[in-house]
Symmetry: C2
Subunit: 434 residues, 2 copies
């Protein structure tokens, strides 16, 4: 059988400036969209063939949404955009001297390069945690977690040993940011509304959801009111919140904390930190300790003229309000992406470019049915109305009418039926790894 030739990208030379975007997350997508109709060739590289709406991964993991509702094929999104090219592949290194990138499918020349490859999970060097925990960054992670949660409950039926049962029915979530808080809320809803119907043979009071946060409060990036309300909501739902507590080691069974305390659980979800994933070839001094890339106010990588970095991957210098860079969240990435598309056009047209100013529109997190915390510029709110705001903002942010409709219908359905319909184990092997 002849091997596939995968050393050539076969991207047509259009005789126009070529802008390569690495990564089709929130930031990269905005750059590509912003260049529509402009006389440039846009080439998007991504490891997947679809954009993932990461803020709702936790709902896939907890059986609330089906996978296809929160992902969107790149080719579908850009099928009407001329001069847009997509390539599925991994970018291995950058050669700034030759203006090329090396990828898993060959070498490609660029005129302008946009690094928008986001962030990866940060285990802070703890190899055992990395090996034994489940992160929450990709659609596969969320399917894997869903499989594991349901499989654990099925396995709980097979034992009378209380420790074994606890190890299966207790879930430890590390990281008190939005992902951790929302996941803890969703898991305790499964415990309250879904599992008692499904597992009448089990004593569900044995099931515990632990949320572990190294700092003194949840939702550290939000207001004090939001943090306090989130804590109150979670505790009312029965979530065991451990503040000022961090994980020292985890072997897949025993979680050991810095305080010396221990917990037994076969499921540890790691949502405690992210870091950049720098690509080889850039000057070492433009990479921060956290793996992000230093950029100026135009998102230009320090020391380069035609290489830009946006979103989680970038640390912008000179924004006095954010000395450590903008928050690693969708809004800065999208705003930077939008401005960068405009600036790239201006550069090619030899017009002056504009510096980036982050407009913090606020942030929010939901904690189960009817409850959310929302910090907006104009006002802060918690509870039922906040929950509506949360749903509205997420719904309008999902790409595509069909996906919006499916998510909305799923939410309605869950709301009125107290059901989470996708409690499926879909995997070939026993470990639940797809």
């Amino acid at each position: 059988m002849p091997k596939l030739i995968t050393t050539r990208t076969r991207i047509a030379d259009l005789g126009k400036p070529r802008i390569i975007i690495i990564g089709g997350g929130f930031g990269g997508l905005e750059v590509a969209k912003g260049l529509k109709g402009f006389k440039a060739q846009v080439v998007l590289f991504d490891r997947y063939n679809h954009h993932t709406f990461q803020p709702l991964l936790y709902q896939v993991a907890t059986s609330g949404l089906e996978t296809s509702s929160i992902v969107f094929p790149f080719r579908k999104r850009f099928s009407k955009q001329p001069d847009f090219f997509f390539r599925m592949g991994e970018v291995i290194s950058i050669n700034p001297d030759q203006n090329t990138i090396e990828t898993s499918i060959g070498s490609v020349k660029y005129d302008y390069l946009v690094i928008a490859n986001g962030a990866t999970t940060n285990y802070y060097g703890m190899k055992d945690v990395e090996e034994n925990s489940i992160p929450m960054k990709t659609i596969i992670d969320s399917i894997q977690l869903r499989n594991k949660i349901i499989r654990n409950l099925e396995n709980s039926l097979l034992t009378d040993d209380p420790e074994l049962m606890n190890s299966l029915m207790d879930f430890v979530i590390v990281g008190g940011g939005p992902t951790g808080v929302e996941l803890a809320g969703a898991l305790s809803e499964l415990k309250k509304h879904v599992f008692p119907e499904d597992y009448k043979e089990l004593e569900l009071s044995h099931m515990d959801v632990h949320l572990v946060e190294a700092g003194p409060r949840l939702l550290n990036g939000m207001s004090k009111e939001a943090s306090e309300k989130a804590l109150e909501y979670l505790q009312n739902m029965g979530v065991k919140v451990h503040l000022n507590c961090s994980v020292k080691s985890y072997d897949g069974y025993e979680v050991i904390f810095n305080t010396g305390e221990k917990l037994i659980s076969r499921t540890l979800i790691w949502a405690a930190g992210v870091k950049g994933k720098p690509i080889d070839g850039l000057n070492a001094d433009c990479i921060t300790r956290n793996g992000r890339i230093r950029v100026d106010q135009y998102n230009r990588v320090v020391g380069y003229d035609n290489i830009f970095t946006i979103g989680d991957a970038a640390v912008m210098e000179g924004d006095v309000s954010f000395p450590n860079g903008h928050p690693m969240m969708a809004p800065p990435a999208m705003q930077q992406g939008r401005l960068l598309a405009k600036n790239l056009k201006r550069i090619i047209q030899k017009k002056p470019i504009q510096p980036f100013r982050y407009k913090d529109k606020g942030s929010m997190a939901t904690i189960g049915r009817n409850r959310a915390v929302v910090d907006l510029k104009a006002f802060k709110t918690q509870g039922f109305f906040a929950w509506f705001v949360w749903m509205f903002v997420h719904l309008i942010s999902i790409i595509g009418f069909r996906n919006k409709f499916f998510v909305l219908f799923s939410w309605f359905w869950s709301y009125f039926s107290y059901d989470k319909s996708n409690r499926l184990i879909i995997s070939r092997n026993k470990d639940g790894v797809n």
Copy 2:
């Protein structure tokens, strides 16, 4: 880390007759449903935690439906049925002398045993075909095929070599039954309506869909009119139909036929046959050459009093219209399941039982947009109206309002947009095997 104890099923003894059902397909589900409210303990064993609506697997494989729309968790289906127990596990063997089954999660006693474990793909001993082709029996098969189709198209962009390109863009479907015919239709719709938008860089005229059938006509179980119309529809859609042609070998690249002809393709879909998957422990003489189990007119396994087999797994003796057993399709399985539930009640109540009579309500297959062939008892029809009948029958057969709604909406959406939205590669590794 303590190992999980998986040698005990921990199924409570209710002091009622225990009926164990092996397999939650169309047949097994009817038995369980039919026993609702009766004074018996029903225990369902399945390898998966959900029922799969197999007739629509091909639509998942061709990006038309999302996985969750055609599967349904057993626990959800039976949450309101008292004395129903579900266990996820593989049944390894039967001990008729002790009235027990050995499973991957331990040994369990039964009073009555119902084998409803369906069929598996039959490769007729061709190891190379088994290793290199994709079957169409489980949800994982369909995701794997979807991943492969999309990945092949992505890879086609990376080569100029016409043979390599053909090997990626040509698809060979073996088996001219409903699955093969419907899959061929759906693939040629992708070629016509979806891929030209997605892959403007590719010359899609290179893409060929081959349908290979060993017999002289397609849809062998249906009327001559249906076979002829199906052939005409497929040929009009550009499908290359090879009749009187069977596969001799396939190494993952070169398909060699009994006629000596060859085709080059990296994707061979095997829908050419099924066989029973007998479970160890029954008398050898009650297993047919095709691995099905001989039953009497009450679906009782020949030689046993309290062991029954239904559906694909069973060959009923004494039905003169079907000397080789009933067709291996959903309707006989469902009808047998329904009657067996009634007969089990009668046996336990010491009442006389009723023999099975198959009511052939007809069969159907769809061939892309607007076209289907339908053979009913009352009339035969082909074309647009048949397509409506096909949709209606499938829609009412799917379990659950939510799934019906999602499938209906997806069909509407596809119909008016000519789109198949789920063209996703969702897999961790490069081979597209989930």
